[in-house]
Subunit: 113 residues, 2 copies
């Protein structure tokens, strides 16, 4: 099974869980209280987040606290940055730009980010 950060945040519930426990660590039960699915479904989401390092869990007696690990999201922003660099590189390649200007299928004036 694929288990990477991009796949982890593809699910809207998992994104919401991340944002929720970013404010303050919560136990699985408290997290589950905030979502319309079962405790076990949330538990699965937490396991996936844990497996790709987006959260860590510390035990405190019979309770477990889920803490967010924000640094792991750098993988996403790094990819976004690399993508944007590729996009901007397009405008610095004169030959490419000239070719596009002569070819109506490749409009050169598509707006950047």
């Amino acid at each position: 099974m694929r288990r990477d950060v991009f796949q982890a945040i593809a699910d809207p519930t998992r994104r919401d869980i991340m944002t929720l426990i970013a404010r303050s660590p919560l136990t699985p039960n408290h997290v589950a209280d905030r979502f319309p699915v079962s405790r076990q479904a949330v538990s699965k989401h937490l396991k996936i987040l844990q497996e790709c390092g987006l959260i860590t869990v510390t035990r405190q007696g019979r309770e477990r606290y889920c803490h967010v690990q924000p640094a792991r999201l750098n993988e996403v922003s790094d990819w976004l940055d690399a993508f944007r660099r590729s996009w901007e590189e397009r405008f610095s390649r004169l030959d490419q730009l000239l070719a596009e200007m002569e070819d109506p299928a490749n409009p050169p004036h598509t707006s950047p980010l």
Copy 2:
């Protein structure tokens, strides 16, 4: 079927396709040449990217050119920004911080991004 930007970029092949055509628009066949899967598999990926607005396709005779639409990725960076705001808010809430310092299950010195 879910069809949003997060789900679209969850697949590594689709991320690579995005980065590839960010440099310059390509036809589906040219895109497929760059990947180890069949042309039809790539065609499906392109359809998904198109359905969630990450690429647009212009026709030129019997060829189609796939163009990246970078602005749609703002949905991702917007979520990252919102998440980081939530994370930073954690440090501005004094009561929360004090509670964490007294509770070893909630370490207050977890490193930010």
